[in-house]
Structures are given as C-alpha cells and as structure tokens.
C-alpha cells in the first residue's frame, strides 16, 4: 500500500494582525501589576474602613486584579474576544497561536502547541520545586539544633505553610504538566490537545498563581500551616488571603488541564488506537485527571469559605457562631486524599512505561495494572477522614474509614506486581531513567508500609501529628513521586531536546538524592517514634541527634537536585545527540522525528497492535 503525501507550503503568518500579536510574558506582567494596583486603589477607597490599606477585602480584590490583568496581558482572552465581536480566527491566526516559525519567542507567550506548553511546564515545575526546596532548606536549617537560631517562629511557620503548598502544587504538575502535555497527544496519535487554547490557558493561570503564593511570604505569610485549618486561619495576617487566592487560581488551572487531557484521550485517538492499545501512561494520566476533576473543586470551595469567614464575617468554620472547624477539615481532606493519587498516578504510569522499555518486556498484566490504578483512584475518594482520626469528629466512623484506608494496600500491591513482573527475566538496560525506577521501588515500599501503620486507629492515636507522619508522606512525595518525575524527565528529555541528559551527572544526582532521601526521612521516622510532634520550630534535647541527621540528609538532597539542574541546563544545547528513538521504544512519540514537527504527524498513523510487543514475532510489518 502506498500513499502520496501532498506537500503544500503554508505561508508564514502575515505581520501585523493587531495588538494581540505583541502580547507576551512581559506585557502580562505589566498588565497584571497595573490591574492589581487599580484593583487595590478601588478597593482601598471603597472598602478599607480601618485605613491600613491592607485589609482582607483589599487583599483579595487586589489578587483578583492581578490574575485578570495577567490573563488579559498574556492574551488568554483575545480569541474569545474576537469571536464575541464576530471575527473568526483565520488560519494565519491559528498558526501564529501555535507558534509556527516563532523560534524561542513562542516559549514566552500564549502558545497553543502542546509541546511548547509541555516545555513551559517543565520550567514552571523546576521553579516551584526550587522555591519549595529553598524553604525546605530553611526549615531544616532551623531544626539543625533546638532554639530557633536561624529564623523566628513566625517566619518558620510561614516557611512550613508555603513550602507545603509550593511542593504540593509542584508535584501535582511535575509529571502531568510536562508529559501529559508533551507526550500524551503524540502517544494517542493526535496533532494537538483537544482544546489547544485551554491548554495554554491552564499553563498561564498556573504561572499567575505563583507570585500570589510567594507574595504571601512578603506580606506576613500564612503562618498557620498548609492545611489552613480553621479557626486558627482567622488569626493569620493578610498573607493568608494571598495564599488562599493562589490556591483558588491554581484549581482553575488544574480543572482546565484535566478536562483537556480527558477529552484528548477520549476524542483525539488515531484510527486503531483502541482503549486497550493505549500506552499505560495515557491511562495513568487520564485516571489522575478524572480524579482531579473530583478533588479540586473541594479545594476551591474550602478556600473560598475560609476567605469568606475572614472578609465577609460569615461563620462557616466558627463554632461560636454556628459553624464548625470540622467542616473545614472534611472539605480540605475530601480534596487532600484524592490529591495524593492525582500526584502519584502519573508518576507510576511514567515509571511503568520506562520499565517496559528498559527491561525490553511487555508490560506485565496490562489489564490488572489498569484495574490497580482505577482501584487506587476509586478508594482514594473514600478515605479522607483518616486524616481526622484524632480530631474528635464522628468517632463511630473510625472503623469504616480504617477499612477503606487499609484496602488501599491491595491496588498498591498490584502496582508492585506489575513492576516486578515486567522486570522478571528482562534484559535490564541500566541507563539513567532506570535508576529512578529502582529508587522508586525501594522508597515506595517504605512509604506504603508506613501508611498502613497510620491507618490503624490505635497506632494513629500515638503517631498522628508527629514527625512519623511527615516522614511517611515524604517517602511518598519525595521518594516516590519526585523519583518518578525525575525518571520521566530523564526518559523523555531526548525527545524534547534531541539530546541525552548527561548520564554521569544524572547518576551522581541519583545517588545524592537517593541517599539523601533515605537519611533524611529514616531519621525523621525515628524522631516521630520517639515522640517529636510535627511543625515544631524547636524541640527538646532528646531529639537533637536525629534532627541533625535529617538536616544533613536534606542538604545532600539539595546538592543532588542542583547537580540535576546543572545537567538539565548543560545538556539542553550541548548534550550528546540522541536521534529520534534512542531507547528503542515502541510508543508513538518515539516514532516521530526529533524535534517533533508542529502538528506531530505528516500522516496520522493507523494502529494495529499495542506498543508492548517486545519479544513477539511480528505478523506483518
């Protein structure tokens, strides 16, 4: 069978085309600041009864001004504005938006090409991880010895809250942001996402949220913990308002991104790409996106009610006025536990993808692994109250929530079965991505098992609110999710850049991060077992040794992450060239040229088998 391909030349977009062709990150910053100042001035004049200039109302309205201005300045609303005024987008407009022939400039503006958005997400993730990591170093430095020698308690508490929230945001987007955007459309055989403009919107809305979160530190911080528990959240200064507005903005970004991923997978698959032939990473990303659509509305609601209690005098969470703090905790954890799996599943999907390629084996038990991931997602919406065992809320529900929580170990076990089954008798190629897979397995078994202790109420009565919990979820978030995210970066880096990530620096970084993670958080388990509560800025002398060990371990992680950052930057233009498919993978993203052309495929492929045919005789070719 032969087919001819008509090559036609599309002329470069005509210059001109109105002011919106001159919008970029710079104009967005300017418009954001201008709108924020105007919003502040209006709110200050109308609402600021005490005249300090920074009441809760003024702060919230200023934040809204910033976000609206930023979105206008980046051009997020230009297309819909043109449609509204009756002028349709021309082909040249669409090509401009997709960043055709725009070179480096397309990375600095509202570009709809999913690969550009993927790269933008890589950079945003690194900024979030870097800022959160610096705050972690601040926390650990203060805990090096008792007595608050580094920062005072208020700054320490703000560091805790903003570190927690930055890292949660970073990990939510760490795999899903770069790779559900860059590779999922290619994996399913699509030319772009289902809604390319929404894709760019989700990225730039996330970018708009970051200055709010960091800005909260500048105006006194949220010194009341990242879980924003009421009623103490009402004691925090205006830093809390920016903190909450950052989260509200972020939930918009995530919802838009999640809808887009699901629609892309459901509607944009190429001919023959049945659901059963989808790469496992596509399944993982879709399940995580669907779970996010359930979870993040709770996040938006709980932050909105919290702000309302502060600025409108409502009393949703104030017991003396008819509300209850338990409502805040329920809403928060209705989001908070599914969110763990929104974070975890894409990382697991990426690692499974890496394992099949580097063990040269089909994915072991494809259907079971989908069932495992769906099981994790399903159970994760039924376990939220295990965060509340010691709050005194509904003691009669303790048993049921203990049952659902411990059942999570069954689908988790399936993930391990699939990983081990895929490794079984493989020809394991120990290149850089595979290091992170083995690191993940080792860390995730620790993170998983310690979770089972905490699900047991008599044990949780002792361990809740201690460093044991902190160590447990850092084994999951750092030891498992971050390892998955870095593994995914090492794996797909050659597809993005056409070059390998420096193997030697990458391995140095792996060993530093792996050893650092285990030193830091094993010592933290010991602190917790011995009775050190979490969120303490200072502690009794009996905890000093283990805290010093944790701090040294944290510095080692930081060193490893800096080596990785160095490798990512230095290999971007100077790394060893890789060619289009350096790993010999069979998923579609490796079968298109590198760099991937705009719209990915000259001719959309027709799929006849799944991408895991390692060791199988081809029936036709």
């Amino acid at each position: 069978m032969t087919s001819t391909i008509e090559h036609s030349t599309v002329s470069a977009p005509a210059l001109g085309g109105g002011i919106y062709r001159r919008l970029n990150f710079g104009t967005a910053l300017i418009a954001g600041v201008v709108f924020a100042v105007i919003a502040w001035w209006v709110a200050h004049s109308l609402l600021d009864s005490d005249g300090r200039g920074f009441s809760d109302q003024v702060m919230v309205i200023t934040a809204v001004g910033w976000v609206v201005g930023f979105e206008l300045g980046i051009g997020a609303f230009t297309s819909i504005g043109k449609w509204f005024t009756g002028r349709d987008q021309t082909h040249a407009d669409e090509m401009y938006l997709a960043g055709k022939d725009a070179g480096q400039a397309r990375y600095w503006r509202f570009t709809t090409d999913h690969k550009v958005v993927g790269v933008q997400y890589i950079v945003v993730t690194m900024i979030l991880l870097g800022a959160g990591g610096l705050l972690a170093m601040g926390i650990r430095t203060n805990l090096l010895s008792p007595g608050n020698h580094f920062v005072n308690q208020q700054i320490y508490n703000s560091f805790l809250s903003v570190h927690g929230m930055l890292m949660i945001l970073a990990l939510i987007v760490a795999v899903a942001g770069p790779w559900a955007n860059f590779v999922v459309p290619i994996m399913v055989g699509a030319r772009d996402m289902a809604f390319p403009r929404l894709n760019a919107l989700s990225l730039w809305t996330l970018v708009a949220a970051i200055p709010l979160l960091l800005g909260s530190l500048a105006v006194g911080g949220n010194d009341m913990g990242w879980v924003t528990q009421a009623p103490i959240s009402n004691q925090s200064g205006v830093g809390f308002d920016l903190f909450a507005m950052a989260i509200i903005t972020f939930t918009v970004s995530t919802t838009v991104a999640g809808v887009n991923t699901i629609c892309t997978v459901l509607t944009m698959r190429t001919k023959g790409m049945t659901l059963e032939r989808l790469p496992i990473f596509v399944w993982a990303s879709s399940i995580a996106a669907a779970l996010g659509l359930y979870a993040f509305p709770f996040f938006l609601v709980v932050m909105s009610l919290n702000i309302s209690d502060r600025m409108n005098g409502t009393s949703f969470f104030i017991a003396s006025e008819g509300g209850t703090g338990w409502l805040q905790e329920n809403l928060f954890w209705l989001m908070g536990h599914p969110e763990v799996y929104v974070i975890l599943l894409p990382a697991v999907g990426a690692l499974l993808e890496i394992t099949t390629v580097f063990a040269r084996k089909p994915l072991f038990s494809y259907r079971t692994s989908i069932a495992g991931m769906a099981g994790l997602a399903g159970l994760s919406v039924l376990v939220w109250a295990h965060h509340m065992f010691t709050t005194g809320w509904a003691p009669a529900l303790g048993g049921p929530f203990m049952v659902t929580t411990e059942m999570i170990s069954i689908p988790t076990g399936i993930i391990f079965l699939v990983l081990l089954g895929t490794l079984w008798r493989g020809n394991i190629w120990m290149r850089l991505p595979m290091y992170w897979v083995f690191g993940f397995i080792s860390n995730f078994i620790v993170g998983g098992i310690t979770g089972i202790y905490l699900s047991d109420i008599p044990v949780d009565n002792q361990m809740h609110g201690t460093m044991f919990v902190v160590a447990h979820f850092h084994y999951v978030f750092v030891g498992s999710v971050l390892f998955g995210a870095i593994g995914a970066l090492c794996f797909w880096y050659p597809k993005v850049t056409g070059r390998f990530l420096d193997e030697r620096m990458g391995k140095i970084s792996f060993w530093l991060v792996f050893i650092g993670t285990n030193v830091t958080f094993l010592a933290m388990f010991v602190s917790g077992l011995r009775g050190m509560p979490r969120r303490y800025s200072s502690y009794s002398l009996i905890f000093e040794h283990m805290n010093t060990v944790s701090t040294i371990g944290a510095y080692v992680i930081m060193a490893g992450m800096l080596v990785l950052l160095g490798a990512v930057i230095s290999s971007w233009n100077k790394g060893e060239p890789s060619g289009p498919n350096p790993w010999g993978s069979k998923t579609l993203e490796w079968l298109v040229p590198t760099p991937v052309p705009l719209e990915n495929f000259e001719v959309l492929p027709v799929i006849t088998e799944d991408p895991y045919t390692y060791g199988e005789a081809r029936t036709n070719s």
Binding site: N157, K361, S365, M402, L417, G421, I441, Y453, P458, G584
Partner: protein, 256 residues
C-alpha cells in the same frame, strides 16, 4: 526450552532463599527495634499500640522482603551488560494464577491487619469506664494547658471553684476520662507515653480515656499547629499512687 526452565527455577530458588533471609532480618528488626525506638509505655493503650506496631511490622516484613529480593536478583542477574539497546526479553504478558495468588494474598494480609485493628478499636471503645472513673477537664489555650478536677467542685461566696493546675496529676490504675476543649484555636492534647491524642477545639468538647498503669513523670505535647509558640506548648503528667494523689489534691487551692 529446558535451559529456560532451569534458569527460571534457579531464579525462583535464589529469590526464595533471599526472601527467607530478608524476612528473618525484617522480623528480628521489627521485634527488637520497635519497642526500643518508642517511648516507655505508661498505659495499656500505649502497650497495645506498641504491640500493634510490632505485629504490623512482622506482617509487612515478608512483603517488603519479597520486593527487595526480586529487585536485588534482577539487578544482579538480569542486568544487560552489552553495548547499545538490549535484545528483547521474553514476551510474558500475564500470568493469571500468579496475579490471583498475589491479589488473594495481599487481601488476606489486609484482612488480618483489619481484624486485629478493629477488635483492638472495639475493646478500646468499650470504655475503661467503671465506677471509680475520674473525670479531668482539659483546656488548651495559646500556649499552655490547664487541668481542672470537677470532683473537687464546690462554691465559695456563690462562685463555683475547683482545683486546677498547669501540670497534670493522675492516680495510678484509675480510669481517667478527659473532657477536652480550647479557649482560642485548635490544639492537640497528647500524652506521649500513654498513647492517647485528641484535638482541643474551641466551643466544643472532645473526650478520650486512659488508665495510667505506671508511676512516674510523662510528657504532654501539643500536636496541632496553634501559632507562634506551638513548639513550647508542653507540660508534664505526674502519675502518683492513689494515696499520694488524694494528698496532693487535698492540698491544692481552689479557684474559679
């Protein structure tokens, strides 16, 4: 075919031996390290908590050991040492009996842990109670604890008064019921060596119960972030003999 079978069975035997050794090591560490790492127990609740930690660790040891055994064997024996992309491995797409065994095994283990945990929870909830139960009212505020003994309540000049103190004194072997509240924001009331913890919440009363079974001084630490001096919101529990406790209680001044 034969050589493939021999390699597979050799792998299974080696992994089996590795599994047994690692499990044994895990069980030993669970039994000896867990109680050594945890605080001394001053109540049966804490004792059962430590025992549960040990049992869960022992139950988890074979699971972790199996994963590590397979991973170590894979790294040692299945690592490709040649140049370039390795040749394909065998096409093992599924193994339904193994998958079923794995799922049934993990479900059985989970059920065992659940039965243990739920029965312990039930015995906890059946209440130490009894006729000689003593009530202590616990109040948290930024950033100290106070403990009030309602059994000493009386009136002076028409004002209700009772004994209250910033250290907690308790009689040994007496079931205690704590009614916990807060004056400002949420705090976490935790007696470290007794294994009980409950939030102190403004305008709300939460309860927890424990029977101290060992004389001595123990620690109370706040476990819910409560502002600036959260890390300094600690105090002591003094468990006395019943006689020493009544003497102490009688000697205390009463206030509003």
């Amino acid at each position: 075919m034969t050589s493939e079978k021999t390699t597979t069975s050799r792998a299974i035997v080696t992994i089996g031996i590795l599994w047994v050794l690692l499990t044994a090591a895990g069980v030993l560490v669970s039994i000896y390290a867990t109680p050594w790492l945890m605080p001394d127990s001053a109540s049966n609740t804490m004792h059962m908590g430590i025992l549960t930690m040990i049992i869960f660790s022992v139950a988890a040891a074979p699971v972790a050991a199996l994963v590590y055994a397979v991973v170590l064997y894979a790294l040692a024996k299945w690592r490709y040492t040649g140049e370039g992309i390795p040749p394909d491995g065998p096409s093992l797409r599924a193994n339904s009996p193994l998958t079923m065994v794995w799922i049934i095994g993990s479900t059985a283990l989970t059920l065992f842990l659940l039965v243990w945990g739920l029965s312990l929870l039930a015995s906890d909830n059946s209440g130490q109670g009894g006729a000689n139960e003593m009530t202590v009212n616990v109040t948290g505020q930024q950033w100290l604890w106070s403990f009030q003994y309602p059994s000493t309540a009386s009136t002076q000049n028409g004002t209700p008064v009772s004994v209250s103190n910033e250290d907690l004194y308790l009689p040994v072997n007496t079931p205690i019921k704590f009614n916990v509240t807060s004056k400002d924001v949420d705090h976490g009331f935790w007696i470290v060596q007794m294994g009980i913890k409950i939030n102190a919440i403004p305008d709300t009363i939460t309860t927890t119960e424990v029977t101290p079974n060992k004389l001595g001084d123990y620690d109370i630490r706040c476990t819910e972030i409560c502002g600036l001096n959260h890390s300094y919101m600690t105090t002591k529990v003094h468990v006395l003999t019943e006689k020493a406790f009544s003497n102490w209680l009688a000697a205390q001044p009463k206030h509003f």
